[in-house]
Amino acid sequence: MTGMWWLTTLWALPMIGGAVVILLPSSARELARWVALGVSLAVLALVVVLAVRFDPAGPRYQFVENHRWVPSFGTGYILGLDGVALALVVLTAVLVPLLIIAGWRDGGAQGPSYLALILAVQSMVLISLAALDILLFYVFFEAMLIPMYFLIGGFGADRAAASKAAVKFLLYNLFGGLIMLAAVIGLYVVTADSPAMGAGTFDFRAIADAVSTGQLQLSPAVGNALFGGFMFAFAVKAPLWPLHRWLPDAAVQSTPATAVLMMAVMDKVGTFGMLRYCLLLFPAASMTFRPLIITLAVIGIVYGAIVAIGQTDIMRLISYTSISHFGFIILGIFVMTDQGQSGSALYMVNHGISTAALFLIAGFLVARRGSRDIADYGGVQTVAPVLAGCFLIAGLATLSLPGLAPFISEFLVLVGTFVHYPIFAAFAATALVLSAIYILWMYQRMMTGPVSPESRTLGDLVPRELAVVVPLIALLLVLGIYPKPALDVINPAVSHTSTSSAERALK
């Protein structure tokens, strides 16, 4: 299928769109918004076409493009999607237009650069999801930090705090990425020395094949070191406890749309990287590190949930729930069962949607009232019933109520975990209770009870906001009741991953 430019178009579209937006004169702020929205909708349309043409029963990687890039480094411009990557590409394409609408006026006087940065992040996320070359992946995995950094630091309400949070974000992630760079180089050396490859290469499929057939044998020490380098970067990005410290600050200080872009879209590249790269490239080391990572993931699940209960700031609370959910995703990946990994892959999508809904609605509320403090609200459901209702649905999705999308993925992860690790599954399941506490208690404090004097003037959702919220709620319901299309796409990709890692483990 080489010669088709589907995936190149996919990432080039937002990139070029971003360039067009930033080149528009500053007087054309309104036009810039519509151009950006149009570009993101065009991406969505293209992704819909891709999703329709994707054949779940077909080859593992589809829409493959393979071109020369930097042969001196053994790296090529190789793109292709498997089911998991496709699911995340769809998530990205769905969320970005909604985020542009949600943050319609967030850019202020610098609107064009704000929108261009969002499109740049989207483009880089898409290319890193589609990359089938490890160095190509790495390049965009790192490069996406730069536009994200400017988004966090440049547009938050409190400039000084925002720039501090942005620096924290960047340094954490850059450090993780540079450690990964050492591992990437190490991988090159390993392939260069291996008789199976002949020359150093970064072609993911070639290396993964050689690993799964046993032609490329890594000594345990080397394998563990390389795995550690990759995993460290992904664990910072995802984030895995105790590397999560940057996330709450960055989420609180940036605009809600930016925070969602970061938590729901960009951080998924981290968990995606674990599933794609850590497990398939270093199956033996993954088995070695499995107990450690599962332990950290479970700690993260419980820790995130408990800390969330104690928060007084809405945004900070939601970002801690995300840390808990990332724990679930990582847990599902590393229990190495089909259910666990399918659940994780689905969880990535569902978490993206539910966090987006919860965070954006909270953002709409904060924008009305100018305060992120839960104590400043009360009785909102009387004055803004639609807003409160949508918030409740998003909240219930976050606590994994059956019938809403995250339930199925969380259930799958827990079932997958229980097979091998009943005790860990039991600990993780406590988060179900804890999440009910943090969500319902937050809802109770903010939305029910007597109307606080300051809340009396709050208006309900306006049409622009509804345009953001309704599709998200609809997706939560649809995927909650009928997740089959998503699972059909994800399952073949995942079963390949877990079989090959299990096979290696048995040898």
Partner: protein, 508 residues
């Protein structure tokens, strides 16, 4: 005794530049004042383009193994020609930077009369009389010729001649700043004293190596078998001289002071070109003359590389002066390039060459930006804290400077990433993975102070009477060009990689 044969054709790039330098001196002496600037500019630019053409012709005619000229004193091989070409390109761009003028006609960065005492009546008279001295052009050409020789010398005496020819004009040029002249002269004196000291070490090292091998030729030393102890001491002393020139720790102490005091165009020129030439020499000495003794010098050079990375990055964190910050960053980069030298393989050579090319362009661009940010009195504003908010008020300058900083930090999609990747890969393949690990950690630390500047430029409120940006056409062109090169080498590095890969072998 028959006179030695001199292959004028093979030496033509250096001869052209030297010739231009001599003509430049004559112009300075005999041409009327009004004609000096235009003729110097035409000479310098034309001469370097001519030399570049000569380099290109030789590259096309040369077979991949290369050859030696002037009875083995000068190597003409692919790495040599690549270095000379890079030096000429950097020289051309630096000439544009040097050639910027103030409205009254004098050179913007250079004093109208270097011989006058700073702050004296004579200085004021020269200033008000509109005196213009353009001797900096021939000086730059002499330095360039020296650098071109330094990077290609194939015996130790030619190497020493190159070292001196490049150093002496640089010492002088450092003292020529128009503003803050005392600081500039102090920098020059410091550079001269330390430089002379290191030259003495260098010369002593040459003597000992001669004692070891009985020959001055690098290839001769490679196959010699003399006293091992003498060789080791010789290498150590020779390395002191070379490491001084590249600015490696612990011989880096001149770098921040000289970078800070020298006129900014000269700083840019030194930071880019001197490093290229000195690394050219370093690579040739270690790869051609001393591979047999690698077990002795590699651990030491690895240690120097680690120390240099550490010192450069850690001290840079504390800097509030933009030129000093860039100076320490340049020290750190020396450490990174040294990992390519330690690799001791063909990939190490080509990776280092790529690094030098890419770094030369970014650093030239960064200093060009420094030279256009001015306080209200017209002096350069070098205090980083006062750069706050610059990126918001001058998006072009802010974005471009941020790009150079990101390239220095080695962020992907800039030339800095590809360079670091190339040398680290070579070091890992060459059996020095510990250097790679230390290198990436140093990069992570370094990212902190580059990011700090970006925060300052974009996310901090501007101070009262904030500095202004005055970009002339020449510097704007130069900044744009270097930024484009930085980006292009980050996204599509393969053409240049092909070039350096074909230059992966020294003539032996």
């Amino acid at each position: 005794m028959t006179p030695p044969s001199v292959e004028y054709g093979l030496l033509s790039p250096m001869l052209i530049v030297l010739g231009i330098a001599v003509v430049g001196v004559l112009v300075e002496a005999f041409a009327p004042r009004a004609a000096r600037y235009p003729s110097q500019m035409v000479l310098a630019i034309g001469g370097q383009i001519g030399a570049l053409a000569a380099v290109t012709t030789q590259w096309l005619q040369l077979n991949s193994s290369g050859r030696v000229a002037v009875v083995g004193a000068v190597a003409v091989d692919r790495p040599a020609l690549f270095l000379q070409g890079t030096l000429l390109l950097i020289g051309l761009l630096a000439t544009l930077l040097i050639g910027q003028r103030i409205p009254s006609g004098g050179l913007a960065a250079f004093t109208p009369q270097a011989s006058s005492v700073p702050g004296s009546v004579a200085e004021k008279d020269a200033d008000s009389a509109g005196a213009v001295q353009t001797e900096v052009f021939p000086l730059a050409m002499f330095a360039l010729a020296g650098m071109m020789l330094f990077g290609v010398a194939d015996d130790l005496l030619a190497l020493f001649v190159g070292l001196e020819v490049l150093s002496l004009p640089l010492y002088l040029m450092c003292a020529l700043a128009r503003r803050r002249r005392l600081m500039s002269q102090e920098a020059s004196l410091k550079y001269f004293l330390l430089g002379a000291f290191s030259s003495a070490f260098f010369l002593y090292g040459i003597a000992l190596l001669y004692g070891y091998a009985g020959t001055l030729s690098l290839t001769g030393i490679a196959s010699a078998s003399g006293s091992h102890a003498m060789a080791l001491v010789g290498i150590a002393l020779l390395s002191v001289g070379l490491l001084f020139k590249v600015g490696a720790a612990p011989f880096h102490s001149w770098v921040p002071d000289v970078y800070q005091g020298a006129p900014t165009p000269i700083t840019a020129y030194m930071a880019a070109a001197t490093k290229i030439a000195a690394f050219g020499a370093l690579l040739r000495v270690f790869y051609v003359a001393l591979p047999a003794l690698a077990t002795d010098w590699r651990p030491v050079l690895s240690a120097v590389s680690v120390l240099t990375m550490a010192v450069g990055t850690l001290i840079a964190i504390a800097q509030n002066e933009v030129k000093r910050m860039l100076a320490y960053s340049s020290v750190a980069h020396t450490g990174f390039i040294l990992t390519g030298v330690v690799a001791l393989n063909s990939a190490g050579l080509s990776g280092s060459l790529f690094y030098l090319f890419a770094y030369g362009f970014s650093t030239l661009g960064a200093f060009a930006v420094v030279s256009v940010v001015r306080e209200s009195a017209g002096d350069e504003e070098n205090d980083l804290r006062r750069w706050a908010g610059l990126g918001r008020r001058y998006p072009f300058i802010g974005v471009v400077f941020a790009l150079f900083l990101l390239a220095f930090a080695g962020i992907p999609l800039t030339s800095g990433f590809v360079s670091k990747f190339a040398v680290f890969k070579a070091a890992a393949v060459g059996g020095a993975p510990e250097l790679v690990v230390i290198g990436v950690i140093a990069s992570a630390v370094a990212a902190y102070f580059y990011v700090r500047v970006i925060v300052l430029m974009f996310f901090t409120e501007a101070p009262e009477d904030a500095p202004v940006v005055q970009v002339g056409a020449l510097s704007r062109a130069m900044i744009v060009l270097t930024a484009v090169v930085t980006l292009l080498l980050g996204a599509v590095p393969q053409p240049l990689l092909n070039l350096v890969d074909s230059a992966g072998q020294f003539v032996r």
